[in-house]
């Protein structure tokens, strides 16, 4: 930790055809479309902004209560509540028109056709820089995670989305599987430019005062520091299994956590639940990564990717 070293650190990373100014992205569903965070940080310093899940039609989401705190984590069963792609274009993309940051739209659907139609609608929007296809949401009854827990449907969604766009296509993987590397290989083979992981782990909590589940939907997705060890392990497995870049996430709270994910093989990382705890996290992590590299004489943050010494 030679505090005197003061060279600059190149924070840019390549994600397939996208070059990002920083490896720090926001995780879908934890950052809306950024507007609310403009009070707390400079959106233009983000590597990219991954939006809340967008579906073809408006989705109501699940009944409340939708969240529960758990040890070092939280459960959510929001259920992809969103006003649909049309409203997204009108409001969210309009807001983002004046913000200089790569926009990656998280895409949801009940059927393969719905995923494709969301992408088709967004193809004409110049403000969209790429797509993250969510085949891993544990909080919707049809679609969502069902696509992400077996190779064939994961491949099918990916192939259909790939056919609909030449923009960067990221597929977001579910951790609720026996072999995440196998799914990653399937979607990479089907044309994904990158994979992102992990989405939430399926979990549950019970209120012993009422004998009721804490979530109205009974089960929900676990996120936050509690899942970091599982997320890191999966990123490491997937980075070893596919040649496309990996976006890592799951419980990242600070720059050390982010560095762990990059060492395990991630080219970029996403801040999720931490946005709720400290809305400035993405900046703290960005500044912290610069410092992390500087202290170690590392000139380019991308050198961290896969640098784990095993």
């Amino acid at each position: 930790m030679s505090g005197s070293v003061t060279q600059t650190v190149d924070m840019s990373v390549k994600l397939g055809s996208l070059t990002l100014r920083s490896p720090v992205l926001t995780a879908s569903g934890t950052f809306a479309s950024g507007r609310e965070f403009s009070d707390f940080l400079d959106l233009e310093r983000l590597g990219g902004l991954v939006t809340k899940g967008v579906s073809l039609e408006p989705w109501e989401g699940n009944p409340t209560p939708r969240i529960a705190e758990t040890p070092s984590g939280m459960l959510n069963s929001i259920g992809l509540q969103n006003p649909g792609v049309e409203a997204f274009c009108e409001k969210d993309l309009a807001y983002l028109a004046d913000v200089d940051v790569p926009v990656i739209v998280n895409v949801s659907g009940h059927t393969v056709a719905e995923y494709v139609r969301v992408i088709e609608r967004l193809e004409s929007e110049p403000r969209v820089d790429g797509y993250e296809v969510n085949i891993s949401c544990p909080n919707v009854d049809s679609g969502g995670m069902a696509f992400g827990t077996a190779c064939a449907p994961a491949e099918e969604v990916t192939r259909a989305c790939r056919a609909a766009t030449r923009r960067p296509l990221i597929v977001k993987l579910s951790p609720n599987v026996t072999d995440v590397a196998e799914i990653a290989r399937a979607v990479a083979g089907a044309g994904a430019d990158a994979v992102s992981l992990i989405n939430t782990l399926l979990g549950m909590a019970i209120d012993t005062a009422t004998f009721r589940p804490k979530l109205a939907r009974v089960v929900g997705g676990l996120s936050g520091p509690a899942i970091k060890p599982v997320a890191l392990r999966m990123v490491w497995q997937v980075a070893g299994a596919v040649s496309v870049p990996v976006i890592g996430m799951g419980g990242i709270m600070d720059a050390e956590d982010a560095a762990e994910f990059m060492l395990a093989g991630a080219s970029a990382i996403s801040i999720g639940t931490a946005n709720f705890i400290d809305p400035t996290t993405a900046m703290r992590v960005t500044d912290g990564l610069v410092e992390f590299c500087r202290e170690r004489g590392i000139g380019r943050v991308s050198e961290l990717t896969g640098a784990l010494r095993t």
Partner: protein, 273 residues
């Protein structure tokens, strides 16, 4: 603050503010009053708004906890809190000089429409918390304030002094009859709605109480605002954990509320208890 309206359009953007505990005292069984040095929030906050407080420093209790601002005194804010679970237990242990941080001020607070002359504030238990600042603000603006305050027992009648100071009329109800009317505060509310010429009812307390107060106000033809408590992860409108069904669709309690016009709330839905 133009046109006497405390609506969110005029409120200051929230920020992450590092605050210091000035004092933290138990004021009734299971209830504490914490005073924080929070200059930015103290200046910016409007009645009915809240702050999202980081109580724990490590990750075990990960989420922030939302608390209404009870009062502002100079650069200090006061929070009334009930010790319920892990977070509020930790809060009760915090001593003068300790640091925490908050995100705030947050939410859409009480609306004070221009031209109202007489308002009724109905508080059940800790529901008194967000009504303190409101009572002071109304009094400052020359609006007559009547307060109905309920609690299980006299000792738990929160913020009596504040309300006694500013209210033209102040009634209490206790479940055990140890102070004021015996029974629920809704009984008092009913009487006051009949007795007084009221322009507006403001209420906060347990939802079953709020439901009754809203119905009573509606029957009396008096507009009513209620402050709702919802589980909140972000507090700033992004996570959609705090949604409330209204006649205008699902609204987020953290930014569209916590104060809602009772007439827009869908009281028949299971999401409102």
């Amino acid at each position: 603050m133009t046109s006497g309206c405390a609506c969110s359009e005029h409120s200051v953007a929230p920020a992450l503010e590092r605050v210091e505990v000035v004092a933290n005292d138990r004021i009734a069984s299971g209830v504490g009053l914490i005073v924080l040095h929070a200059p930015r929030t103290a200046t910016a906050v409007r009645p009915g708004q809240f702050v999202h407080l980081r109580i724990a420093r490590d990750s075990a209790h990960l989420l922030r906890r939302p608390f209404s601002i009870h009062r502002v005194r100079g650069e200090r804010i006061e929070i009334l809190y009930q010790v319920l679970g892990a977070g509020t237990r930790l809060l009760a242990e915090r001593g003068a000089g300790e640091e925490m941080d908050l995100v705030g001020p947050l939410g859409h607070g009480w609306e004070i429409p221009p031209g109202i002359a007489h308002a009724l504030l109905v508080a059940g238990g800790l529901g008194a918390a967000p009504l303190g600042m409101l009572a002071e603000e109304l009094a400052t603006r020359g609006v007559a304030v009547t307060v109905a305050l309920g609690a299980p027992t006299e000792e738990r009648l929160i913020a009596r002094d504040l309300f006694e100071n500013v209210a033209r009329r102040f009634e209490t109800a206790t479940d055990d009859g140890s102070c004021g009317a015996a029974g629920f505060v809704t009984g008092v509310c009913e009487t006051l709605l009949a007795d007084e010429a009221l322009d507006l009812v403001y209420t906060c307390g347990p939802e079953p109480m709020q439901r009754i107060v809203a119905a009573q106000a509606a029957d009396a033809g008096v507009p009513c605002q209620v402050s709702l408590e919802r589980l909140m992860a972000c507090g700033i409108g992004v996570c959609l954990s705090c949604v409330v069904p209204t006649s205008e669709g699902q609204k987020r309690a953290c930014v569209d509320g916590p104060v809602f016009d009772a007439a827009t709330l869908m009281w028949d839905r299971p999401e409102i208890r």
